[in-house]
Amino acid sequence: MESYAPLALFAVLLIVMPTSMIVLSRLLGPRRETEVKGDPYECGVPTWMGARNRFSVHFYLVAILFILFDLETVFLIPWAIVYKSIGAVALVEMGFFLAVLGLALVYVWRRRGLEWE
């Protein structure tokens, strides 16, 4: 449990630093509110349309495919750690796993799932 001490310290700093910055600047800084200052802006350009626009459905396809292949990466981490102690069998096990997912990638590629059309 002692190995988590740096993490705990980091978490405390993470909370204290931004909180103190916001609180101190609010307490010490002058606040003169004007209508212009209250305007929402984006990159300095005045807003000209609503924020609630629909996303293109293309993003969704990309996101789902990302998560599925992200899952594949997750299994590589414990595999890399235990690879030496398990030996060559681990290579075969991961090889099959990656081959099936490679097949999935080929399928997506051939069905032009990676194209933005």
């Binding site: 595999w79 796993f97 990656l98 399928y107």
Partner: protein
């Protein structure tokens, strides 16, 4: 009460409270944010069960990637303010309640049935106990690892549970094919012509103005935009 009990009590209250808030919010974005709180706190539960790997993956995959997916769906649908807070018809809500209670009963049953926790405990080694994994087929070095460590996780997956692990790859393959069939069908005219099916309306269709690029998203006048700044 030990310190661990107090921590568990606090994170359980946060998890259940955030889950309740997620269900009751009118604005789906707030629901998604509260669901993210629940998922993050579940990561803390995994950490308390001495499984740091699962805890990190819970944060990266669930609180990160999966929640992005949820947010995408909310932004795809882009509910207008007057559509928020609409509830499902009563039969559907009763059915949902029955299903939820059924799942809860299934999950709670092992905890209250006297024989089951003992049997489950006998399967798992006690926490913080080092376990010796022999090398497979005499090729590797073998290892002695602490329960719950990432290496323990790896030895369990690539040793005892290697068949389920390989089946996961098939499952992901099936998911990839399903995604392509569901989401890609309406996007590509040629793919529709391939299997000749135009019977069903596309399940994830958005209006033609949105099916284009980001550029069209930015330039087209949106009849559905009801933002406060509009």
């Amino acid at each position: 009460m030990a310190a661990a009990d107090v921590i568990f009590l606090v994170i359980s209250i946060i998890a259940v409270g955030a889950a309740a808030l997620a269900v009751t919010r009118k604005n789906p974005i707030y629901s998604a944010l509260f669901m993210m709180v629940t998922l993050l706190v579940v990561a803390a539960v995994f950490q308390m069960l001495s499984s740091p790997f699962l805890a990190v993956m819970q944060v990266l995959l669930y609180a990160g990637a999966i929640m992005v997916l949820f947010t995408f769906v909310i932004m795809l649908l882009s509910l207008r303010p007057e559509e928020m807070g609409e509830t499902a018809p009563l039969p559907q809500r009763i059915f949902a309640a029955v299903v939820a209670l059924g799942v809860f009963a299934l999950l709670a049953f092992p905890a209250i049935e006297p024989g089951v926790p003992a049997a489950a405990a006998s399967l798992a080694p006690p926490a913080a106990e080092a376990v010796r994994f022999p090398p497979a087929a005499g090729t590797g070095d073998g290892a002695t690892v602490e329960f719950g460590a990432t290496a323990y996780f790896g030895h369990t997956i690539f040793g005892r549970f290697v068949l389920p692990f390989e089946l996961v790859s098939i499952l992901v393959l099936a998911a990839v094919v399903a995604v392509m069939v569901l989401a890609k069908r309406d996007l590509s005219k040629r793919d529709v012509a391939d299997d000749g099916s135009d019977r069903d309306p596309p399940p994830l269709s958005v209006s033609a103005a949105h099916a284009g690029s980001i550029a069209s998203l930015a330039t087209s006048t949106q009849p559905t935009s009801h933002g406060p700044g509009a």
